[in-house]
């Protein structure tokens, strides 16, 4: 899927969407819509980071509206506050997009494991988990390794899997219980 194929939701062409609303209740709804849009856009296009100055979402030429700089900052910090993003640098110029929160991801991975018969059985590698053939269509396909590790750590804490050290980090093995 390329970026051009992304289907923008209806509210993306609603002019007030590009003005941060002064009324608290309305603003909450608006920011939730922005979160939804950013996540959807990055998930569908398999983008792992959002570079603040490059993101095309801030501007909708068809209605001649764009978020101004402070508005972009508001939307981004809301994303980070909600747990769906993480600043990659101190200057806050780039943001890692957490498609799924680690807890959600952990559930997804375990569900996938039980469906594919990996629970209590074979061992798969970290690489297989994000780029293997079996994960085609799963929510964590093509995901950042770092994020996957966090999810696995949660599963390990819950006693649902064990992670073995491999020769390279991608070859770490996982056994589901």
């Amino acid at each position: 899927m390329t970026e051009g194929d992304f289907e923008y939701p209806e509210f993306y062409s609603f002019p007030p969407f590009f003005t941060i609303q002064p009324v608290e209740a309305t603003r909450q709804k608006q920011l939730a819509l922005w979160r939804e849009l950013i996540l959807k856009y990055h998930t569908q296009n398999k983008l792992k980071t959002l570079v603040v100055h490059e993101c095309p979402l801030w501007k909708n030429d068809s209605i001649g509206r764009k978020l101004d700089e402070t508005a972009v900052r508001t939307v981004c910090s809301d994303l980070v506050d909600s747990g769906h993003g993480e600043w990659l640098d101190e200057e806050e110029t780039a943001c890692r997009i957490l498609w799924r929160k680690p807890e959600e991801l952990a559930t997804d991975v375990y569900e996938w494991a039980s469906q594919t018969g990996n629970v209590g059985g074979g061992i798969c590698t970290l690489y297989e988990l994000h780029s293997g053939e079996d994960v085609n269509g799963a929510s964590f396909e093509g995901i950042d390794e770092e994020l996957l590790r966090r999810a696995l750590a949660i599963l390990e804490d819950e006693g649902k899997c064990t992670v073995f050290q491999g020769e390279t980090s991608s070859e770490d093995g996982i056994k589901f219980h």
Partner: protein, 460 residues
């Protein structure tokens, strides 16, 4: 009805929607004086009226109505006004109309035979209060007791004296008879004219006839001179009555103009004429001093404070009477206090209201006057008076729908001001208020702010 007392034996007086006395303008009734702190007594061998049915046996006839009432004297009658305490009277709390809280009873002056002063401190009774004793045709003797002295000062004496003066004057003038007297006179003159012409032409001829005619003319002139010099203001009043008739004719004309809504020229003329009429209208515009007799404002005792408050309440009710029908008719629903000040004073023509008095009066609108009008201060500091039924509130679904429909394709304050029939400034305030209520949201660009229905909450 708490007691069976003289007050409740009197007929009710009609009030305007905001609780002011309704004057009979067709008979040219004019408000003369208003005083508070008045007690009403009856003196006679039997109660004023038979015992009402359904009254609990514990209630006995009382010769006096002990609560403090407001006395209003007009050219035709005097009216006693009693305001029920809302807290004590929960059953009436639901009514929007304020009339249920105000009980007004009248005594027509034609019923009064004699009016005299009485009471006042003397050697024998140093605490005697100032009274007016009215001898009436049907109620035996009625007594008005002026009680304002309790709050300090000797205001009750001047209250009594001024009330007595106005009552005496009104009784002498017999304004309520003017209309019928005028008609009688006309009829008399008409008959006299026809009989005299018939009489002379019937019996006299030639020089005799001319002489008789001259004599009749001299008599007529003498009578005219006598009338003119008699100094009675009655003649003037009859003239005024004719003038009022003319004004009323124009009022009808104005209404016709407004009804037909024909072309702009006519409308402009109507507006002009209406302005002129407003000048002459509002005959009940009492000045502060006539209303309560307050002195200069720098010195105020407790009693004067109370009187000033009375005056402000009265003014607030007048403003409501003046403004509510206008706002309702125009569909605006609100007007800035500055505009109210200009329009209201324009309508009064004389006895202009000071800005301070208007502000204090309108502030009372929010303190339970319940006249359908309230004052509102926008966050920007603009103060407006608005109709309660058109006020924006979370429960006013009609207004909600109206604003959402209005802004369906995005509206600036300027655009909205046309359909809201408000100044752009007030329209902006209304839109922002609707935004605060979550009905609208904004699209701010460099050039302007546009309001849209709040689809964030409604649709998405």
């Amino acid at each position: 009805m708490e007691d069976w007392s003289p007050f409740y034996c009197l007929p009710r007086a009609e009030l305007t929607p905001s609780g002011l006395l309704q004057l009979d303008t067709t008979d040219h009734e004019v408000l003369l004086l208003r005083r508070s702190g008045v007690e009403f007594r009856h003196e006679g061998p039997t109660p004023m009226a038979p015992r009402p049915r359904g009254l609990p046996p514990s209630e006995r006839w009382k010769n006096t109505t002990p609560f403090e009432m407001v006395l209003t004297i007009t050219t035709h009658r005097f009216v006693l006004l009693y305001k029920h305490d809302r807290d004590n009277d929960e059953s009436q709390g639901t009514g929007r109309n304020n009339n249920s809280d105000i009980d007004a009873r009248l005594v027509h002056l034609s019923n009064v035979r004699k009016v005299e002063a009485s009471g006042g401190p003397s050697l024998m009774s140093p605490n005697s209060s100032y009274k007016i004793v009215l001898t009436t045709k049907t109620y035996d003797t009625l007594v008005l007791v002026f009680r304002n002295s309790i709050m300090g000062g000797n205001s009750s004496r001047s209250d009594r004296d001024q009330s007595l003066r106005e009552l005496t004057k009104a009784l002498e003038r017999k304004r309520w008879e003017v209309a019928s007297r005028l008609e009688q006179k006309k009829a008399l003159e008409a008959s006299r004219f026809s009989s005299s012409t018939l009489g002379t032409s019937g019996h006299k001829v030639g020089l005799d006839r001319i002489l008789a005619k001259n004599k009749a003319r001299h008599q007529e002139n003498a009578k005219l001179a006598e009338e003119a010099l008699s100094g009675d203001s009655e003649h003037l009043l009859t003239e005024a009555a004719e003038l009022l008739k003319v004004i009323q004719k124009y009022t009808v004309l104005v209404q016709k103009f407004e009804g037909s809504n024909s072309n702009s020229d006519d409308e402009e003329a109507a507006i002009k004429l209406k302005g002129l009429l407003s000048d002459m209208g509002m005959t009940s515009a009492l000045s502060q001093s006539k209303m309560a007799g307050t002195g200069p404002k720098r010195y105020r005792s407790g009693a004067e404070e109370q009187r000033l408050n009375d005056y402000h309440e009265l003014t607030a009710r007048q403003v409501a009477d003046f403004l509510v029908p206008r706002l309702r008719k125009s569909g605006k629903g609100m007007m800035s206090l500055t505009d109210v000040y200009c329009l209201f004073n324009r309508a009064r023509g004389t006895n202009l209201l000071s800005p301070e008095d208007l502000r204090d009066s309108c502030a009372l609108l929010n303190e339970g006057l319940n006249v359908g009008l309230s004052q509102r201060t926008f966050p920007s500091g603009i103060v407006v008076l608005q109709l309660d039924e058109l006020a924006l509130s979370a429960t006013n679904y009609e207004a909600r729908r109206r604003f959402i429909d209005l802004c369906a394709d995005g509206k600036t304050a300027l655009e909205a001001s046309h359909s809201l029939q408000l100044s752009p400034l007030l329209a902006a305030e209304q839109l922002e208020e609707a935004e605060r209520l979550g009905w609208l949201c904004r699209d701010a660009t460099l050039s302007t702010v546009r309001f849209y229905p709040n689809k964030f909450v409604i649709t998405f």
